[in-house]
Amino acid sequence: MSVDPQIVAQLGLIFVIFNMLVLSAAFMVWMERKVCAYIQDRVGPNRVGFEGVLQPFADVIKLMFKEQLRPKAADALLFAIAPVISACAAFAAFSVVPFGTSTTLFGLLDEPVPLQVTDVNVAVLVIFAIASMGVYGIVLAGWSSNSKYSLLGALRSAAQMISYELSYGLALAAVIMLAGSLSLREIVMNQSGSWWGVIPKWYIFLQPIGFLVYMIAGVAETNRAPFDFPEAEQELVAGYHTEYSSMSFALFFLAEYVNMVTVAAVATSLYLGGWLGPFLPDWLAWVWFLVKVFLILFFYVWMRWTLPRYRYDQLMEFGWKWLLPVGVLNLLATAALVLWIG
């Protein structure tokens, strides 16, 4: 039985992307702690490995050896699968994100393999759909714990995600209108070239308000500061994962960080021209992608340790009374512009 090298390469790519996502989550934990430390005039983890880079792995080993607790009245099955749903949704969303042109692995393959798990012609909607599946992990975690704090926390997080999903979708729709395509690869390719040879034709320059709406909604979608109510243990007794411990707790954290990476990667593809950039040859284009994603993620962390947390009613008011109208107006203006220019 002969094995198609094309399929082997594709499987290898999937394996690499999966592990890159896990490692990026570990890297984010380390970066978060380091940046936080320097912002607070401390040094941060510096014992395990060079400058503490192995700290996340030490944390994971510690979590593995912790006891797995489950409340007596909890629904065992749903309690077990809730973190799995969260993590799966987070990983699955990244599958349609392109991060480079294509490779033949230095001539090993007959046909080039695009650097992406799969190129769907409705990629933007796929991301949106999978993001909406992530809510179930949170809601089920809260419900199955059979604890008041978990249930209320889950309701809080779910309501937050559903509210900001609308603004998120509106920002995506404006970009789709500009590009005339739902495929992320085509959207990135539409952003090639530059105006007057200086300013790259990235959609951030055509959609500055859309980018802002997308980033704010993205932060709220991933339950991050300043909208991080699951972290508010002092005033709200944390959130949906109150009753979780050990690795199932770690899965929720993994999902949160992978979601952040996905939001940053999608923002890069939609607004910052994906892997497009000067100086580098085509086969190294993914370096630009990584640089842009890293900058957005750094911004995420920077924001978390700079801004105080919102109050819950302020969050809802901001989402529905400000962000959503701005998103709608931006969409209408974009539609008018596209019609006018043609």
């Binding site: 749903l78 409705v122 909607l125 796929v126 759909a129 909406s132 179930y136 309701l155 559903i162």
Partner: protein
């Protein structure tokens, strides 16, 4: 076996088993989750039919938006497990209610058989590519030109239902 055929049988089996599970067991929370599973497998079938747009809308609207609503209702009302033989929904319906239900399902079954016999078996043999609905542009164009009236009428209907729900839910202060 062909990979497509295998995928079809897997998705079809999941859809049927999950749908049976929705009505077959007594924990409302599990029913909701099984319904979501069934919708997901259905989306897989749409992908096999070369209609990824329909598949994704199925996930976003049914599995995403509507089922979250179901889940919230089940969670907040804290519907208990239905015990067999106790006056649950079936008990409230009574024998008369069950008889009406049986008649209604019979009518639905006859309708399906009638509808399928009208289109005939040749309809299933059609070339799939000729009637493919995978193009988002095509769907959008026909929705906003040929079916513009139906589209607008539906959206107004939904708006009216929404206003109605707000009016019913609002308490006088």
């Amino acid at each position: 076996m062909d990979v497509n055929a295998l995928a079809f049988y897997v998705f079809a089996a999941i859809t049927i088993l999950a749908s049976l599970g929705v009505v077959g067991q007594r924990n409302p929370m599990y029913s909701v989750m099984l319904l979501i599973t069934s919708f997901g497998a259905l989306a897989g079938l749409y992908v096999l039919l070369d209609a990824p747009f329909t598949a994704v809308t199925q996930i976003i609207i049914y599995a995403g938006a509507i089922m979250v609503l179901f889940l919230f209702v089940v969670m907040l009302l804290n519907v208990p497990r239905e015990e067999p033989g106790l006056p649950g929904v079936l008990g409230a319906l009574g024998t008369r209610g069950m008889q009406i239900g049986a008649v209604l399902s019979l009518v639905l079954g006859i309708e399906i058989v009638w509808a399928l016999s009208r289109v005939g078996l040749g309809w299933f043999g059609q070339d799939a590519a000729a009637t493919s609905v995978s193009s988002v542009t095509l769907i959008g164009k026909s929705l906003f030109t040929r079916h513009a009236f139906a589209f607008e009428a539906t959206s107004i209907l939904i708006l009216v239902a929404m206003v109605g729900a707000v009016v019913i839910a609002r308490r006088e202060r």
